[in-house]
């Protein structure tokens, strides 16, 4: 599982199942939580230190709330595994990576060759996000690091 093409982390995958947000906020020892599109992910901010896995649900790929949830978590300093789960299609993985997701549990299988091509296609990005890619405006003005 550590060398799964859909996991972009070096550490061992987290074993504990993810509990719901309500359950997590009621428990003191859970280390994995699952966020639904309507959940306010900022409720987790005081607890990021105890979390090893946050799974963000994408019941329908058109519902883009999870992209904001991911960025908010990374902006708050969360360094654990951030997984996109559900209706995740290969063409969404790149923007999801940019928003800070580092593992993916798609409902339907993703072709790894298509994914590899997709992730390496864009050399440059226009805007800063959660992935540390340097936006072109920085390159234009002499900054090559995020």
């Amino acid at each position: 599982m550590t060398d799964s093409p859909l996991r972009f982390r070096d550490d061992a995958p987290h074993e504990e199942p993810a509990v719901t947000l309500d359950a997590f906020l009621g428990q003191t020892n859970a280390t994995a939580v699952r966020i639904e599109p309507g959940d306010d992910v900022r409720a987790l901010l005081p607890h990021l230190g105890q979390l090893a896995l946050i799974e963000v649900a994408f019941p329908a790929f058109r519902d883009g709330r999870g992209y904001s949830a991911a960025r908010i978590l990374r902006e708050a300093g969360y360094t654990g595994e951030l997984r996109a789960e559900g209706d995740v299609l290969v063409d969404q993985i790149l923007p999801m990576r940019r928003c800070g997701f580092d593992s993916f549990a798609p409902r339907t299988e993703i072709d790894s060759a298509t994914l590899k091509a997709s992730l390496s296609r864009y050399e440059h990005v226009y805007q800063g996000a959660a992935d540390g890619a340097v936006p072109v405006w920085k390159l234009r003005h002499g900054q090559s690091r995020p």
Partner: protein, 543 residues
Amino acid sequence: MYQYDTYDQSIVDSRVEEFRDQVQRRLSGEITEDQFKPLRLMNGLYLQLHAYMLRVAVPYGTLSGTQMHMLAHVARKYDRGYGHFTTRQNIQYNWIKLDEAPDILAELAKVEMHAIQTSGNCIRNISSDQFAGAAADEVADPCPWAELLRQWSTFHPEFTYLPRKFKIAVIAADEDRAAMRLHDIGIQLLRRDGQLGAKIFVGGGMGRTPMIGPEIKDFVTADDLMSYLEACLRVYNRYGRRDNIYKARIKILIHEIGATEYARQVEEEFTHVKTLGIDPPLAELERISAFFAPPAFDADAPDTLDRSDPDFAVWVDQNVRPHKQPGYAIVTISLKPTEGIPGDASADQIDVMADLGARYSFDELRVTHAQNIVLPHVRKADLYAVWQALDAAGLATANLDLIGDIIACPGLDYCALANARSIPVAQKIANRFADLQRQRDLGELKLKISGCINACGHHHAGHIGILGVDKKGIENYQLSLGGSGAEDASIAKITGPGFDEDGIVDAVETVTNVYLERREAGERFLDTYRRVGMEPFKVALYG
């Protein structure tokens, strides 16, 4: 105007390659139509009644002669020899084949053009004032800001699956020539204590529930703008409705939680986002602004005009506007000939306009949200030659802002969403009022026609608005009066029961007659309506 550097070009080229791959996977059946749909929409490719329609972006409505020639080439090679300029300053081609779409994008990329995000639930083309850089009343050229926002919004990873489409307009004058208040985000540049910044309006829009965007922030500086807009979009992405596509625009969110609460949430998010360092330095706006420096105007250009040709004089009076530089003028080319389709131009006509832009307007043209074309910087001494060339190409209709200058959506003839045909109604009205003298007597009269409730023809913002509906299988047209997309923004009001296709033409004539009877000195149709109210018009229409 802006020119790509290697970074811009690399991004567009990669997109072409990506789209080619996506089309290939669609054609091979590797992905379903449902999975392919958002991907093709993000490249402006719609599936319409007869064929695919491709909407090519014209960022803030600005393009060069070379780019205009490319648009003609696409029309000729890949379509049926014409294109349609839209109410968002873009161009649409109605007869595209799916397997040729990647080639079209590849050709466009060679001249720094694309079809990125001209559809889909993402941030769309940033629109602006068609007189940017030429009008005397602007505090600064809004186009550099629009370019900055184009880059910020292109492939923005967080805002790729918004609840609904998102439209932003930037202007820089008190006179609103871009319907800014009717956008999801409207931005007006202004100066405060000598510093250039922006006033932000959020929650305007047309569609089923037209709304005028309330002011959310009175002043944002250039180096805070990106963070502020990021906050605006993030609040929308998180809290915009996703349960009902007719209630999913940001205007509904603002209507439901109130502008004050929305502004508060944005401010909170902005305080956080500002710490992330996503705002480019002022040096980036300056870099972009250098591309928009005023052209090399001839300071000695003669300011007089020989008006001895009466047809030329009529055209000058109607279609030519003052330029901030003495000796120059702003030309609007009307794409609303009486017998034509509003906003359409043939490939040959597009080539003529491209040549005129290159030769007489410092190689710059604009598309207006009223579906016309502007040559922003023409020497007065060249106006006659320009007019003669336009006249020879059937492009010299002198009806700018008159009743013949109709905004109309493509309607049921082309669009899968439409309930009624809008083009024949536009043509019948244009014919009824074909007499130019009659049009000039009526004066400024913005007539807008939509073929369905989605309001792509902006009928809510028409001095006279017409909405085509389907009434038990028969086309029916509702008449509304008193809308405005200018700085005096207002939503038009329905007069009463609708009319059939001939009835609506008579109804339009009836209301213009009421105006002629009732008007006082200096009043436009809109002014008379605002003074006398709906009652006299209702009485004339319905008895």
